[in-house]
């Protein structure tokens, strides 16, 4: 207990120094340099892709839809960006949400089962595709509510609290579908995952819209500041008059809603919901993206756009591996090394260590 409060105190101290020391509430310089190096890493990965495949940057128009490796990267990033938005906010309040992959599976399963009812002639209004989308988002929010109550009101460790739904969630999804992978044909609902607007795959637009909405929500209002405050020291925030529990509860709910949309995208993409595999291990890549983006797992300061950049790095790497002729057995090892390299290049200590021999001694 003593240790914890000490930790929290020093964290708070550091936060205040950077904010009040310069008498301005802007991002510190360190963040900018990190963003720069992360961008460099992304460019290096994309250029490597270009070296492997000469038409890596080529974008064509086929049947009114843009086609190309770069579009594929954005397209496959979309569900991860949604998860990363929720995950960033959860991590900012010193939490973690391991359940997002399972919540995706639950929501995909529920949505597809509802849509199948609609296809089989059910006329009730809540089987209409629009309502199904709404219901699914509510289901995601309820999953988030479950996590949030465990963490914020029952004070369970976030990693354990969300592990419960991570494990049980796939069981719930299997119950919903009866263990099968149901398919559907409704194009209106499938639009979420495979629609095209002005040549751009719809999932990309959803991800960008949610990302921008989240950034506006937290940066144009006091919410972002409150979240960081709760993440740095929830008790101090509470004494300062912030409803720390409600803040935590709402970010978990937001994370659940993001997972619901991601689940519908994945289901729409292939017009089916696989309760066993939909969203499997997505939570890990989402957490990885948040970490690459520079949000510390210890809570506090968070960077939404940087998390999205982290997602792009992981997905560019994956698409690069797909077009390479490397045997699939090497994929995971290559991924591990590249992620390590990205994290190292971001570290000022490591850069100093590398450039040491080349610096002039004075």
């Amino acid at each position: 207990m003593e240790l914890e409060s000490k930790d929290a105190y020093s964290g708070q101290d550091a936060g205040q120094k950077s904010r009040n020391g310069g008498f301005r509430i802007t991002r510190p310089k360190g963040g900018d340099s990190r963003a720069l190096w992360t961008l460099v890493a992304l460019l290096v990965i994309l250029l490597s892709g270009r070296l492997i495949s000469p038409n890596f940057f080529e974008i064509r128009m086929v049947n009114d839809r843009l086609v190309g490796s770069l579009i594929n990267i954005l397209d496959s990033s979309a569900p991860y960006v949604l998860l990363a938005v929720g995950m960033t906010l959860v991590i900012a309040v010193k939490g973690i949400d391991l359940s997002v992959g399972a919540v995706m599976a639950i929501c995909a399963a529920a949505a597809v089962v509802l849509i199948r009812n609609y296809e089989n002639g059910a006329t009730a209004f809540y089987f209409q595709p629009g309502f199904v989308i709404l219901i699914t988002i509510v289901i995601g929010a309820v999953c988030g509510l479950f996590n949030g109550v465990l963490v914020a009101f029952l004070d369970l460790q976030p990693i354990i609290a969300t592990l419960i739904l991570m494990v049980a969630g796939r069981g719930v999804a299997q119950l919903i579908t009866g263990g099968q992978s149901p398919t559907f044909t409704n194009d209106a609902f499938a639009f979420i995952g495979r629609g095209v607007v002005f040549g751009i795959p719809f999932p990309i637009l959803i991800a960008v819209a949610v990302l921008i909405a989240a950034i506006i929500l937290v940066r144009r209002t006091a919410l972002g500041l409150l979240i960081e405050s709760v993440g740095v020291n929830d008790r101090a925030s509470y004494y300062a008059g912030i409803q720390a529990r409600m803040i935590k509860l709402s970010v978990y709910m937001l994370s659940g809603m993001c997972a619901a949309i991601a689940g519908m995208i994945v289901a729409g993409e292939v017009k089916s919901a696989d309760p066993h595999k939909a969203g499997l291990f997505f939570e890990l890549d989402a957490i990885l993206a948040v970490v690459i983006g520079g949000t510390a797992l210890t809570g506090g300061r968070f960077y939404l756009a940087m998390s999205a950049l982290g997602v792009l790095i992981i997905q560019s790497l994956l698409v690069g591996l797909y077009v390479s002729s490397l045997h699939p057995t090497t994929n995971l090892v290559v991924k591990a090394f590249v992620v390590l390299a990205v994290l190292l290049i971001q570290s000022p200590e490591f850069r100093r260590f590398i450039t040491k021999p080349f610096r002039r001694t004075s």
Binding site: N55, F56, E58, V67, S272, K277, Y322, S325, P328, N331
Partner: protein
């Protein structure tokens, strides 16, 4: 004395009933415990249903236990059957390969034969009667043979790999490569993993189609139907006609693949047979009759190019 007499009568009756059951060769009247892994996939569920149906048809009293992915549950179920002493044989679909020695020895000591189905165990073969499972290598060979015939041995292929390291993926790859190695113009130009998942199969195919000239790709070999269905979507998005511009052959024969065949988007699939109950019961009956069995009884699925052909067989 009286007890001994009674015991003798019971013994005679018992051996009589066993020999009667075995005379059928179908296992009729036997009590068999079946420990299944769980119900993690549609295929697994149909496998379970097929075993239950087969047992009913043969008049076998089947004790079914769903282990829900846990080896502990499987061992507990087997011990319970052995303790009760009412099973004539046990059929085990092991969740993993290791850690079966003790419980298999217990079964052997109790004189209850065990038949392994589906996945393998690494225990000494003397501890179980035989193993009944799909022949993944055969499936890969069959898919390759169809493709060779369809393209007269001249084809550049994209391989959608299953989960790396899984026996299904590695063996299907092995069988496929064995056959196409016989034809100099058959060539795998891309091999990438889609982890047996629809969305990943689609993502991999999208990426390959954006980097490779689609005219260079003659066919897709997917290690399962789900990835093939994902690939169909990607090929459509790229403005090509799946099943025509790019041939598609896969493995599993799930119901969805026949919808795709009706639409002409997938050309052929090799059945991953869920009908392992029959051969397993046959093995039990043969073993109890004193017959010697091979260490492995492969169940080979057929290749289907239309729903009609599949329906005719089932």
């Amino acid at each position: 004395m009286r007890i001994a007499k009674l015991g003798l009568i019971v013994l005679v009756l018992l051996s009589f009933s066993v020999s009667f059951a075995n005379a059928q060769g179908t296992g009729e009247g036997l009590t068999i415990g079946f420990s299944q892994i769980g119900s993690e996939s549609a295929w697994r569920t149909s496998f379970t249903e097929a075993v239950l149906a087969e047992a009913k048809e043969r008049g076998i009293n089947l004790l079914f236990s769903d282990a829900q992915q846990s080896q502990e549950n499987q061992i507990a179920a087997i011990r319970a059957w052995l303790a009760q002493g009412d099973v004539d044989a046990i059929i085990l679909a092991p969740v993993i390969a290791t850690g079966w020695d003790d419980v298999l020895k217990e079964a052997a000591d109790a004189g209850v034969p065990v038949v392994i189905v589906d996945r393998n165990v690494d225990s000494d073969p003397s501890l179980f009667v035989t193993r009944v499972s799909s022949d993944f290598v055969h499936e890969g060979r069959l898919a390759a043979a169809w493709l060779v015939q369809a393209t007269s041995g001249d084809c550049k292929i994209v391989e959608l790999y299953g989960t790396v390291g899984s026996a299904a993926a590695e063996d299907r790859h092995k069988g496929f490569m064995e056959v196409i190695a016989l034809f100099s113009k058959m060539q795998v130009i891309h091999s990438e993993t889609g982890n047996f998942v629809r969305t990943e199969g689609k993502a991999v195919m999208q990426s390959i189609l954006s980097s490779e000239d689609p005219a260079n790709i003659c066919a897709v070999f997917a290690h399962n139907d789900d990835m093939a269905i994902g690939a169909v979507e990607a090929i459509k998005e790229a403005g090509l006609t799946p099943g025509k511009d790019i041939l598609i052959v896969s493995v599993d024969a799930i119901p969805d693949v026949f919808d795709a065949m009706d639409a002409g988007t997938i050309n052929a699939t090799v059945e991953l047979s869920p009908f392992m109950g029959g051969p397993a019961f046959d093995a039990v009956a043969a073993h109890l009759n004193g017959e010697k069995l091979p260490a492995w009884i492969p169940v080979a699925g057929k290749l289907y190019t239309s729903r009609a052909a599949y329906d005719a067989d089932h």
